[in-house]
Amino acid sequence: MIDFVELSSAFTESLEMVVQRARRSLVVVHNGRHGAGAGVVWRAGGYLVTNHHVVARGAIRVSSLEGHEYPARVVAQAAEVDLALLQVDGPAADLSNLLPAMIADSRQLRVGEVAFALGHPWGQRAVVTAGIISGLATVRVRGGRGSGTVMRTGAELVPGERGSVTVIRTDAELAPGNSGGPLLNASGAVIGINTMIVGGDLGVAIPSHIVEAFVTESLGQEVAQVTI
């Protein structure tokens, strides 16, 4: 016989663990205007992912939940999938506070799986909303001019041309300020980056395998530029 009280507290504990771990990879992205977006520490070395629309204009500044502030620059962006890669600068000791997130393989997602969003809706810091993956949908996007991004992930995006990309729909509540924040699975691994590129009341996220491809592609270019 199942002890429901025990099950319920074990459940709550695992939830807390997942959220606590995920919070350590969450940052606030300021752009000098009203509101702020969220960001996820993606790679060691101060590499963060956020939404393109969060950093499209203004002077970028990143802060951790503990209040550390970092100057940041945009390394690469892909407007068509609303992604931007940032790198923050700072003493090594400070950067070590930014723990890279666990990244899940979003090609294996199933509708009905638990999904959590972390972000700063309406400016409130590190808010957790819970739900499930409601659906996987294909949306048409236009490749951004000069974004230089060609995805090699099944979602072929050529700059300036129309393409399609798979997005994750979730019933976890998303609001302005969740933009650029992570959508997490039951293990606390990132399955997507929340965004507002599709209208309506539906929350959507760009799957993590597309984000990973964007990051790899962007860092490859970055390295190439440095060597030349």
Partner: protein
Amino acid sequence: MSQSNGNHPLTALSEAMAEAVEKAGMGTVLVNGRRRLPASGIAYAADLILTADHVVEREEDIPILLPDGSEVTATLVGRDPGSDLALLRLKGGPAFLAEPAPQEARIGQLVLALGRPTSEGIQASLGVISAKGGPVRTGRGGLLERYLRTDAIPYPGFSGGPLVDTAGRVVGLNTSGLARGASLAIPADLAWQIAGTLAQHGSVRRGYLGVRSQPVTIPTAQQKALGREQSTGLLLVSVEEGSPAEAGGLMVGDILVGLAGQPVSDPDELLARLSGAIVGSPAPVEVLRGGQPATVTVTIGERK
């Protein structure tokens, strides 16, 4: 691509819900029976789809998309606008049938609302059973005996789809057509029962008496004469000429207190008792006449 351990209850629940969606999704079809966005339907029997009445705007050649991606057409078998249910017959059936939950939904239990409004696969939202209610007048001349309310998001096109438990069993049929704005579900046992009637008769028969009434309080002395505690009844304020009520001998001034052996204390109860097998057959109507109980027999007519 790392995974953390030590959070088994959460991953177990996540797995269970994905399984439930996959299973129930096999019994959820796309119903393209209206001009705007397609809606959903439940695989009720080998060649029958149960869906919401308000999403079916035609009777023939209704395109149905099965979970395996094959397209078939369906024809209308029957509909009941009063409970917002319609039954369709397929040419070529679904391979998998929806399974109704063995027991009634409980307030607080986890449920998943499912729909298949596009060809891109199943969609779902998570919530709980928020409330149970009924009977409720549906504003389409009908009355729904019982309904479920949930906080699971009713995405566009979810009408006609199932509300399922975490084992993927159907606890209700989603509809937005009964109460404007609110997401209601028709309990599975009731939906299945109405579907059975639709399969047999093509419609749900609703009874007709031919009276106008208003609820009145029954004085204690008359409750004693009645032999039970029943604080309200229906005062008949008019009896239509040539109606079943007149033929059976009901009179203005009678207080209707029971029908076919069941107490009737308000208009909704009367409406609920007047549907189904009672239509067309003689039924005892219990009244208070001059303060004394009396029973007359009325052959219940059918409301057209």
